[in-house]
Symmetry: C2
Subunit: 111 residues, 2 copies
Amino acid sequence: MDRQLLKGHLPVIILGLLAEEPRHGYAIAEELKRRCSSAFELGEGTLYPLLYRLEDKGQIKSKWVRLTNGKERRVYQITPAGKRTIAAHQKDWNRLAEAFRNILGEEWAKA
Amino acid sequence: MDRQLLKGHLPVIILGLLAEEPRHGYAIAEELKRRCSSAFELGEGTLYPLLYRLEDKGQIKSKWVRLTNGKERRVYQITPAGKRTIAAHQKDWNRLAEAFRNILGEEWAKA
DNA sequence: GATACATGGTATGTAATACAAGGTATTGGT
DNA sequence: ACCAATACCTTGTATTACATACCATGTATC
């Protein structure tokens, strides 16, 4: 699909995954592949910068977690601000959908 | 609303308006204001470059039309490729919506 | 000893939109 | 006759998100 369409929507997909439970980067990528591969997949070079941006904006926070085997990985979790962002996005989505219905007709975006 | 969300969707809004009937730039702007102002408005500096891009890609074509008063204005109309783009976008939109439902739950994006 | 997976990172480019400004021509009000 | 508003088109620069491609490291597996 046209990647341009993802702009602005992609962060919310990530936030949605983190709203379910805290996850580290690789787990996010895997989960995305499992659940959305038909729509899109993300390279690491897309995912990590995205996570940094989200953290910069305070919508997620991360901490390094030491595993039993001594390895570390970075686990992200959503913040209240992140949850508000999801809600706001939902509103925007509906406004967009309404604009499309206005212009392309009622039949549009039924399924 | 977050303008990032419009990326990739905006051209389709324009194409939709031109699918109704050929229009010149200003008329497009007016119609948009009338029908979508709650969602967004476009400055001319956003609209015209958008039209140029669409024409470059062959999704619309334009011609100068001389009015009775001797003035000229540029009228755009959609091409078959443009119509195909609308249809493709519709598919992408539904895929996106499905991804959100997958992740944010069935309740999402109902209206 | 090669290959794959798990996990995190950076650097650079591209393309869509935002914003700001400028320009001409007509119309209408005072 | 003048000013303001509206109709209409154009250009240039900045922002920003995402794509692409690449690197590093360790561990399991064949």
